[in-house]
Amino acid sequence: MTGRVLLGAALLVLLAFLARPGSFAPLFDPFTCNNAAAIYTQTPLWSLTLSHLALVGIAVLASTVVALVLAVLVTRPSGREFLPLARTITSVGQTFPPVAVLALAVPIMGFGAGPTLVALFLYGLLPVFENTLAGLTGQPRNVAEAARGMGLTPRQRLWQVDLPLALPVILGGMRLTAVISLGTATIGSTVAARTLGEVIIAGLLSANTAFVLQGGMVVGIIAVLIHAGFQGLERRAAARIGLAR
């Protein structure tokens, strides 16, 4: 309960700050020196926030769809041959640093939102894929037996049994992907993507801590909210399949 109140308060603070950043200036004033501006005004913060969220949202959606399809394919009888390889690739792929993936996408994509999107997409594939695989392959044997006994076709079994049962774990993967992407997207500003990283980098370049703090605060609050939101969805999905968590 206290958790929910705190989250609500955080959301209100975030919205108030994005709507009227100017009124928060006294709060950030102590962190500036030499009469520098306390609030980033180069680009409106709400517009940076929206483009940040859009970038992350598109990347997470795209990687979820692709990862789900791939995970379903490698768990079908015709795709089984790829399963061990797919497992190895996901565990090895996750050791690739997201920042390095971002930097490597630049030569191919040029500057702008493109490389950030590609890096977030590629990096986001792995947690969702790994979790979907775990969800689809980790089911008790009697579930499969029962589904077959009920006369479900493989397709029906996938849609009516396997995927709903795997949903909480899949959502967990999406949560991981979304939170990592939110943080990594800030680094996209070094390659000229329009994200909240712009505010932080402006702060770093002009030694203005107020900018660093407000950029970090906005991203941090959004991350906490998204984290909590996904956890709520996971709990609901788990309750639906009879797993009280």
């Binding site: 190895t88 996750q94 640093p97 490597l104 030569p107 970090g216 991350a223 906490v224």
Partner: protein, 385 residues
């Protein structure tokens, strides 16, 4: 042996053949201008022969051979692609031309990917014993080091960038290692006792873990940025701090930021590891008359070792990657090259920073996976907990 089609092999062949069709290298008049793509036959005197050879290996991979044979073929293919890159660079660069650059292009990366996938697939199917995997890792790292040291790749753009700033590279490599391993060390030093304390004091678990959780959600860029003024202030106002090496710029803020990110995995895994020890084992140890300290040091911690190693893996791999961001705030490390390269649009310089980071993260990840597996085998008492 009946020759059947191998589906993963078809995938690798498709990727590899696309790589053969696309330009292997890019020839650039200097390090910043866009270059001209050259395919394998155009880039190497013996290129056509090599193209046919690589194509044959890829096509042969579509059929089901023994996995050991495939492993050897994939390793040979990888070596051939790397040598082709080095050879192309040497033969394309006019003598005495210090400005021209021969950079790896799409074809090279696709070929590398195809053979790396083939190698991984063969290894996964062979399922070698633990000791053999350790040997293979050592062999792979040694072979790569030997190749880099042999000078065969010296003509390649990335190596030219390296040659131009050898001293700086070694310094930044050292800084990167200090950042990644130093923050891990600090996190273990603080996180292990903290985890043990939380294990004893149930009431504190929730609050401490949620603080650490929130720390993790702060974007790395911001956390690094916030550390600068904090330590600048400490260095200026706390007597003796500046003499002790605390400073607002440089290694120190980056090290502390990484340390803060590392705390959550260490603390939560310590808790999980300790809580997962079989209660019967605990009781038996207490029955033997062990003190609390002995119980912890002789029984609980050794049994929790696999979970602790998992935390070390998470932290080390994560910190090797995050340490790149230190380059943006003057903390050193390979990130220095990445961001310098991005600023100058010199992609070879970006690669000089990104490739060692990836290699380091990969080796650390694989090595710790092996260590965790070894520890898991030695702690059978955990089972049934």
């Amino acid at each position: 042996m009946s020759l059947r089609l191998d589906r993963p092999g078809l995938l690798f062949a498709a990727v590899g053949l696309a790589g053969l069709a696309l330009p292997l290298v890019q020839f650039k008049a200097n390090r910043i201008v866009p270059g001209e793509g050259l395919s394998l036959p155009a880039a190497l005197p013996m290129g056509l022969l090599m193209l046919l050879g690589l194509g044959a290996v890829l096509l042969a991979g579509c059929l089901r051979w023994s996995s050991a044979l495939r492993l050897a073929a994939a390793a040979a293919g990888l070596a051939a692609v790397l040598l082709a890159l080095g050879g192309a660079a040497t033969s394309l660069t006019p003598p005495d031309d210090t400005l021209a650059r021969v950079a790896p292009a799409t074809g090279f990366w696709l070929l590398l990917l195809a053979f790396a996938l083939m190698l991984t697939d063969a290894l996964t199917r062979l399922r070698p014993a633990l000791w053999l995997r350790v040997v293979l890792l050592v062999v792979a790292v040694t072979a790569l080091a030997a190749l880099l040291g042999s000078g065969l790749l010296d003509g390649v753009s990335v190596m030219r960038e390296y040659a131009a700033r050898q001293d700086m590279f070694l310094r930044e490599a050292q800084a990167h290692l200090v950042l990644a391993f130093g923050s891990l060390g600090l996190a273990l030093l603080v996180g292990l006792p903290l985890g043990v304390a939380l294990y004893q004091a149930r009431a504190l678990r929730g609050p401490v873990l949620s603080v650490l959780n929130i720390l993790q959600t702060i974007p790395s860029l911001a956390l690094f940025g916030v550390m600068i003024p904090i330590f600048g202030w400490i260095a200026a106002n706390v007597p003796g701090a500046a003499q002790a090496g605390v400073a607002g710029i440089g290694l120190f803020p980056a090290l502390v930021a990484l340390f803060l990110y590392s705390l959550l995995p260490v603390v939560s895994n310590t808790l999980t590891g300790l809580a997962g020890v079989n209660p019967a084992t605990r009781e038996a140890a207490i029955g033997l008359g062990l003190t609390r300290v002995q119980l912890l040091g002789w029984v609980l911690v050794p049994l929790a070792l696999p979970v602790l190693l998992a935390a070390v893996r998470i932290v080390l791999v994560q910190n090797i990657g995050l340490a790149v961001i230190a380059g943006l705030i003057g903390g050193g490390g390979f990130g220095t090259f990445v961001f310098q390269g991005l600023n100058q649009t010199a992609m070879d310089l970006v690669l000089l920073g990104a490739l060692p980071t990836i290699a380091l993260a990969l080796v650390a990840g694989i090595a710790l996976d092996l260590a965790a597996e070894a520890a898991n085998r030695r702690a059978p008492a955990r089972q049934g907990a």
